[in-house]
Amino acid sequence: MRPAKQNETRKTLGDTVLRVNNLQVDFETPLGTVRAIDGANFDLRAGETLAILGESGSGKSVSAAAVMGLVPSPPGRISGGEVLLGDRDLVRISAREMRRVQGDRIAMVFQDAITSLNPGLTVGYQIAEPLRVKQGLSRAAARKRAIALMERVQIASAAQRVDDYPHQFSGGMSQRVMIAMALALDPEILIADEPTTALDVTVQAQIMDLLRNLQRETGMAIILITHDIGVAAEMADRVAVMYAGRIVESGPVQDILYKPSHPYTIGLMDSIPTLEQKFQRLRQIDGAPPVMTAVPKGCAFHPRCARATDLCRTQRPEVVYLSPQHGSACHYAKEVTRE
Amino acid sequence: MTATTPASDTPKGDERQGSITLYHYLRAMLRDPVVMFSVLFLLALLICAVFAPWIAPHDPMQQNILGGQRQPPWSEVSVRGEVKFFILGTDELGRDVFSRLIFGARVSVAVALVGVLVSGALGVTLGLLAGFHGGRVDDLVMRAVDGFMAIPSLLIALFVLFIFGGGLVNLVLVFALVRWMVYARMTRGLVMNLRESPMIESARAVGCTNSRIIFRHILPNIASPLLVLFTLELALLILAEAALSFLGFGIQPPDASWGRMISVGRGYIREAWWLVTLPGLAIFLTTLSLNLLANWLRTVTDPVQRWRWLT
């Protein structure tokens, strides 16, 4: 699923900054080893936004954690594959080297900003901390930079709020603080793990705007982890759809939206409410995502797939390329289309 | 269904606990040698306490000045031509330390057990009242709890024993006075949580009386955390009895408790180390066993963790 460069995308694409090859992540549980990520491949180019789309438990957050070097261990373990940042494999470098990547080159914004900020430290301290620790800035200089960063993420009267504690901020404001914190060291890559899920719809839009503007200013690449196909459609240049620890379809956002070629992606598209079908019942994908301790053989989606055949039940599908950039891991990728 | 339907097909009262029986607990205990040792030690101690006169090799009061301060582990003394063996030595008056320890166990265990029962009954009752009725009763009980918690227990105990004198009965009463709040606070918290639960609300909705709700629905559900607390408090009261008796405010002569034995032995610490060491070791092993048992009870009765231990 590694498409060649093409000129049809909206932005001029930069060089590949991150390349994930055949990533495998295992978790030890009382019921045995669970493979949370089973051979994921994706890459990320400078200045673009890649959305990783999937339900909870599909492995999308674990892939973000794996890239960040944050897979909780134990019980988790990266059991195979590589995460290449430039020519360095982040899976194999030492913890000490990884800490020079975290924050400096790849930064992360988390889902629930309120609990993801330290309640006992002022937001100014938390934003300035990487500058103080990693760049050796003085307290005063770091504080000044913290205020500038807060202004950059449009927190009003930043100079007064810099000494406030997280509980004095609303959810949306907390998320802005998180973003300011992530921007402190000018990372090349920002991983945003469901950055707006916990927020009101209007605040969601503001945060998304903010991320888009910041991306334009800094040229950083964004990996957006989301379960919301609408968010992905709005923000992403490319989309990778995850199901049961595997990427089942990936490609430019237009291809995924208008020419989905995996039954699961089609199911997701069908479950979006639209204005035209206001009075119809929403369609849903029958069944539930698999329990990760008992992923079905063959194509993991087959129990829920209307088109499933014996082939699907026994053979794990390889990626079929519909265009150089658009791949689908379905035996019948060329035939399935959205009605 | 026919008349031969096996009993297991009938719905059980509590599905969650349906399959866990005493057998599972016993099996889990057998798998944990430390806990098993603790339980065996406590059982042996209980037997010693109950059957002390039959188990003790000698009369614990039998003095023999000539055979005093004999060292363990084994000493022979000829008493009126008859050779006697003393496995844990003799004290300053030639009394058998082992027998005295066994009789001491009787006093220490009895005081602690009765103390726990009395303070527990008082505390649980007040906690139930406070938690169940709330409002002013709750206010009053919790104020008293806070007040008693703020004053060091040892100080209250010493003062009360100073006024009323030591002895078995007064010790038990003092324990009730200084420990009831622990039970009251815990019971109240547990009841408060339960009171709002759908289970109690539905019991109320079908018209259960208060006493039925308390005895059938609340008490069974708070029994296991209370059991853990009782075990921990038992250990604590054994220590407290020892300390008060050591200071001369608890068990009075001629009764021998472990604390008093240490108190007397202290005078001979230079010549007879075992007179201080052995009773203290008895206390230590008893409370250690109780604490280990409490930890184990806590894990096996925890609804989240217990499947791992019991299955």
């Binding site: 975290q102 430290l121 | 240490i262």
Partner: protein
């Protein structure tokens, strides 16, 4: 916040009042002070004389109000025994020194011993608990489990006697008892600190583990901070609330545990004079020591509450 402090102060004052009243009422029941002072063989005339002088012939309510009034001025009566002298109380009857100063002048010795014990406990337990949380299942982690289990299972006075037996009697390294410099304070302080070490280490460990499992720790790690910084700055800042609370509890525990330890080591502190007064039935000294000890524990509790408020921005800034 100030209203909160005011309310706590008021509660403490009420509690002290109740304690004093109970002590007064109960104290009347241990026997006639005049006989306690003069001895059982004293003649009836001097007993009556002394009773009149002490105001014991007045109605109970008058006596109680006088007791409370005196107590407000810091007068908790005069000792029946310590440093008795033939005074001007009348009729050449003996007069004791005021009880409260007698007790208060024992405080430095008690604070010295308790202070060393608390310092030992905190210096050992808190770092040990933090390290155990940072390295779960390590040797240190298991050692803390064993020590705290032993700590709650061992009785202080026996531990003290065992320390004396080993380090003083057998090895002869340290004195068996008495008041003085470092050599004298080591054994009693260790005996006092042992229980607290186990409990404090355990609480510190579980408070740190609780904090280390929270989402903000992942944020801190995602910033590329060192494990030491994540634990010691991010987690410890929030774990400090339970750690301070348990430290306060342990200070209060050590301040009462000191009673027995002082008795064993003949340490001339407040515990020793309290036990002494109890066995000699010297009621004014008993009253004064109870008053002083309860007051100290209340102050410690108040300080802990204050620290709790200060350490917790969510409460402080409301």
């Amino acid at each position: 916040m100030f209203r909160y402090i005011l309310r706590r102060l008021l509660q403490s004052a009420i509690l002290l009042f109740i304690v004093l009243s109970v002590v007064f009422v109960a104290g009347r029941s241990i026997g006639d002070p005049a006989i306690l002072i003069l001895g059982a063989e004293a003649d009836a005339a001097s007993v009556l004389q002394l009773r009149t002088n002490l105001g014991l012939e007045d109605p109970m309510l008058t006596q109680y109000l006088r007791f409370l009034g005196d107590a407000l001025r810091g007068d908790l009566g005069a000792t029946y025994r310590y440093g008795m002298s033939r005074g001007e109380l009348g009729g050449g009857l003996p007069e004791g020194r005021a009880a409260l100063p007698l007790v208060v002048e024992r405080l430095p010795a008690t604070f010295y011993l308790a202070g060393v014990a608390i310092a030992i406990a905190m210096i050992v337990a808190i770092p040990a608990g933090i390290l155990a949380a940072m390295y779960p299942r390590s040797l240190l982690d298991r050692a803390i489990n064993v020590i705290s289990l032993a700590g709650v299972s061992v009785v202080e006075f026996w531990l003290a006697l065992m320390l004396v037996l080993i380090f003083a009697v057998t090895l002869g390294w340290l004195p068996t008892s008495g008041y003085g410099g470092i050599a004298y304070v080591i054994l009693p302080a260790m005996a006092l600190a042992f229980r607290s070490i186990g409990r404090m280490a355990q609480i510190t460990r579980s408070a740190m583990l609780d904090e280390l499992a929270k989402p903000y720790i992942i944020t801190a790690r995602a910033k590329g901070l060192s494990p030491a910084r994540v634990s010691l700055v991010h987690a410890l800042k929030n774990a400090s609330v339970p750690i301070v609370t348990i430290s306060g509890d342990e200070i209060a525990t050590i301040l009462t545990g000191v009673i027995i330890i002082e008795f064993i080591f003949s340490w001339p502190g407040i515990g020793q004079i309290t036990l002494d007064a109890l066995s000699r039935r010297d009621l004014p000294i008993v009253q004064a020591s109870i008053f002083v000890l309860v007051l100290i524990v209340l102050i410690v509790n108040l300080l802990v509450d204050l620290a709790y408020v200060i350490l917790n921005p969510r409460i402080r800034l409301r």
